[in-house]
Amino acid sequence: MNLLMVMLFAPLIAGFLAWLLDFKVIREVIGIIGASIPIGVLAYYYSTVTSESITYSLTVGGFTLGFHLTMLTWYFAVIASIVGIAMAFGMASTSKSSYDWLFALISFTGVLGVFLSSDFVGFFLFWELMTFGSFMMVLKRNRHESLKYFVLSIIGAYSMLVAIGIIYAKTGALDFNTVQKALRLDAMVGSISRGETALIYTLFLITFGVKAGAVPLHVWAPGAYSENDQSYTAFFSGALSKAGVYGFVLLYILMGAKLYTALGVFNNHLVFAYILAWIGAITVVVASFLAVLQEDIRKLFAYSSVGQVGYILLGLGIGTGLGFAGALFHVLSHAIFKSLFWLVTAAIILRTGKTRFEDLGGLAEKMPITFTMGLIAVLSLAGIPPMAGFASKWLLYEAAISAHMPLVAGAIFLGSGLAFAYVVRFLYAVWFGQRPSDLDDVKEAPLPLLIGMVILAIPNLVFGIAPGLVTGYFNRLFGDTIVGGNYFRLVTPTGTYNALLVTVILIFGLSIAGLIYIYGAKTRKIPVINTYQSGNPVTEEYNLSMRKNFYRPLAEALGFWLKYSWDRFYERLANLTEDFADWLREGFYNGNAQSYSWYLTIVLLILALWGVL
């Protein structure tokens, strides 16, 4: 048995065993072991993969399923595996159900399979498996949200299937290598028409857009992320949504040349990439605004997750090497900080059972380690050096500027501002301020969950202080120096960022501030509300505090836009479909044997007419 297959199927088999042997501790141990195998195998392959790619193929049902571990797929697989193992530790604390283990680990295998597949059949198979696993996690908790997720995902998956079918019909191949060659050749020959290319592109855009949660296909995300075991959501939002991103990368690799020749150029930007960039930019802005307005931690991070993936799409859409580097780096940093957030959320929910900001507060004293982890995540998400989140956002920003896309860069900027607004609220409303009296006996998060958090916090710091580790890998991946510098310094055509220097300065500054705080500060007791109300009388119906309706003025300012909701649009569409189904069923199967005979006669008439014509 090949090691690649061991790594791919270990989570699946572990999940199945955990489901069968449904005993306490045993199932957790099996699950964690299964989830740790991939990262072990990937680490083992690190030195090999940088020089050559590892391939393996299986023949299943007349299809050849190919798998390849290249520098690109290794990168994505490692991200998924880090998040996966953190998820497993988290679940050991939060989930008591073998059902959860089964489907969580199935989706883990699915994600790995998507990254490793080197042909469309395997890609589609694991894509479906991944969707299925994650869907079952939601189905258990909320039927409505889960079906919303599944219907959108499956529409995506089937769009992809049609696109694959068209490609297969045109090129006769299903494996990436041949397809890539054939489409590159076709870019010159042009036997696939412009319309067909646009169709294929649109179909893939739907597929990957759904999974990545791009606006307007993001509506499943808030529900599916929040109605879930939050440890699993860490994986769901951190790794699974990256499958969509990977899909877009794949689209570039396979069809880039064809899309370029077929769809052309607009304002010096590739049209297909430009579309992607704008989708990304819109996603960033819309999702960030919505995130700011949420009153529930889970919903907040769900929208934030959508917005952050928007950054990645935007980076890919810029279409330059720097854009790619930024996007890929952001894949990593988003995976580690957002998963960390979800594990922190999992800890909060586990210990308090509450999810709304108004019910929380002052937890920093009670859960100090969790708080520290949350702080790291906040800093990374808000893009504050020296965290991984800053390095990747900085690269994206540089890329947008140097590609002359000021509006897109503006979206990044606006998104960052909004991100700051919502994480500040998270930081304050959950950890500081007055603690509601019913939270007085809250305990620190359990050990496995803390281990999971630490696994994710370390890379946030390491890749924040030494971002060159990642960009150096990209340089080798692209075979070109996209981002210069060394481990600690990033150099792009338009700027330089020295993470180490920033870190040192930051530590220095913090130490001074700490000294001042310890020796100089005098504490003064005031009611919490005072800081906000600025002395004005507060009425009950317009009581805005950090914990409740903090950004309500913003919501009122955006009132016009908030009237329109994609969510409601899809709901209405679903209802229309159901009504149509009823109409069709009752109209056609009306129960009258005579009507049925008429159907037969009509078909006969059609046959007769068509015979005459």
Binding site: S146, I154, L161, G165
Partner: protein
């Protein structure tokens, strides 16, 4: 053993069926056991035939009375027939086990006779090499099916039976006209010889004849809009019979359709018929999936789902390509397995809890966990989740459809499949995450059957190679008409 013994496949059920009334006095158990034994013997013979055909790679041609075709009527048991005769026998055997639980209405001896005749009819339709013989077997199947539909003696059962009969009657009349036209034009009823002569028929006559034959068979094959009888009959029939309808009766119809379609592929206007069939099959899938969406009765819902999946098979067969036919056969195998599982599970629930309404399925995961597991696996497979068998056949069909240039059909069918996912997962949700209840004792043999079927579903899902190679051989049997003609030792023609 002499391969001519394969005629026992027809002889045994026919003879034993007419012995059933003699056993009337022995009681219900004895009759059911008798049926069980006969189906077991049938399954044994079918296994032997299957072995024989697949090891030698040559079809078995049984010549009635030793006369060579076209004078004698022949049975042509090629790779396809061997495979499906086996499936028919095995499904009948499993349902014979289910009879012990599911069928309580008297007169049980009539039921047993009809049960065996239904098996016989389907076997005959699949195995025959003569087009009029096909008609006879089709009528045997249809009449026993009408009777079995009405067997429960409720108003609904009679109503469903009436609808089935009126539509089936119209269909078979026009089928017979088609056969008459073919006979008038070619002077033969032997399928191989018809295939040989098809190219020389007056194109108008050939087109009309083919259209009528297809029309008649499409009623049996449940193609839209000729399938209005199907949901009612499925719902009203006794549970084992419903499973048999879905697993092989409709398959026999669609096989006959495909067989005649390809035999007549030399007809000039053949492509037009394909277009028509593709349109019908696509509409079948769409209408049936939408109809299933808000169904309160689970048995009826699964009946609609069955209709839609048969539409998918029809689509695959109507593509006119080798890939399509292979995929269609693959889907036929998979669909037979999952629908037996689903109707078995749902039927068992209906027997235990007194009805197949969705309310009875709430909390099923707690009351009858193993049955619930069976229904769940069947549902997931039907939706096309990877690791279950339908995934592969659906994928094959879609690829073949797009490859044949019908991307629109593939897109529509997939769109309808989204609806399918919704209602199946609503069912799964109702089973596992709603309702409460005490655990009931589940019947060991039925649970064993369900676990067996689940194992097969997952086995094909994980390792479809064997099933796929069978489907390819069987598909080639239908698609490769030249080989078919060559295999049949026609008297005086060409030899």
């Amino acid at each position: 053993m002499n391969v001519q013994y394969a005629s026992l496949l027809i002889a045994i059920p026919l003879i034993t069926a007419f012995f059933v009334p003699l056993m009337k006095g022995l009681g219900e158990k004895a009759i059911k056991t008798y049926v069980l034994i006969i189906t077991a013997i049938q399954a044994g013979i079918a296994t032997w035939v299957f072995e024989e055909v697949y090891t030698t790679g040559k079809p078995i041609i049984v010549m009635a009375g030793g006369w060579r075709p076209p004078v004698g009527i022949d049975l042509y048991i090629g790779p396809f027939a061997a495979l499906f005769v086996l499936i028919v026998a095995l499904v009948s055997f499993l349902m014979a086990v289910f009879n012990f639980r599911a069928v309580k209405v008297e007169p049980i001896d009539k039921y047993a006779m009809l049960f065996l005749l239904l098996m016989l009819g389907a076997t005959g339709m699949i195995a025959t090499g003569d087009i009029f013989n096909l008609f006879v077997f089709m009528e045997i199947t249809a009449i026993t099916a009408y009777a079995l539909t009405a067997y429960n003696k409720t108003g609904e059962a009679a109503e469903a039976s009436l609808k089935y009969m009126v539509l089936g009657g119209i269909g078979s009349s026009f089928f017979l006209i088609g056969v008459a036209l073919i006979y008038g034009a070619t002077g033969t009823l032997n399928m191989a010889q018809i295939a040989q002569l098809a190219g020389n028929i007056n194109p108008t006559v050939a087109q009309v004849a083919l259209a009528l034959v297809i029309f008649g068979l499409a009623v049996e094959a449940e193609l839209f809009p000729l399938n209005a009888w199907a949901p009612d009959a499925y719902q009203a029939a006794p549970h084992p019979v419903t499973a048999m309808f879905s697993a092989f009766v409709v398959k026999a119809g669609i096989y006959a359709l495909a067989r005649i379609l390809y035999l007549m592929s030399a007809v000039g206007t053949w492509k037009n018929i394909l277009h028509l069939l593709i349109a019908m099959a696509t509409l079948t899938v769409i209408v049936a999936e939408f109809s299933a969406l808000r169904q309160r009765n689970v048995k009826r819902m699964i009946a609609y789902s069955s209709v839609s999946q048969v539409g998918l098979i029809g689509l695959a067969f109507a593509l006119g390509t080798q890939a399509g036919v292979d995929a269609g056969v693959f889907q036929m195998i998979n669909h037979a397995i999952i629908k037996v599982l689903l109707f078995l599970g749902v039927g068992y629930v209906a027997v235990q809890l007194g009805g197949a309404e969705i309310e009875n399925f709430r909390g099923l995961g707690k009351r009858m966990p193993l049955t619930a597991l069976g229904v769940t696996v069947g549902s997931m497979s039907a939706v096309g989740i990877p690791l279950f068998n339908i995934f592969w056949s659906k994928l094959r069909i879609i690829l073949a459809t797009v490859d044949a240039g019908y991307a629109w059909a593939a897109a529509l069918v997939l769109g309808a499949s989204v609806v399918e996912a919704v209602y199946y997962f609503r069912l799964v949700h109702a089973i596992w995450f709603t309702g409460e209840g005490e655990r009931l004792r589940e019947s060991a043999p039925l649970v064993a059957i369900m676990l067996l079927l689940i194992a097969i579903i997952v086995a094909i899902g994980i390792y479809p190679n064997y099933a796929w190679s069978l489907s390819q051989k069987a598909g080639n049997d239908i698609f490769n008409v030249a080989q078919y003609i060559k295999n049949v030792p026609l008297m005086g023609v060409g030899a």
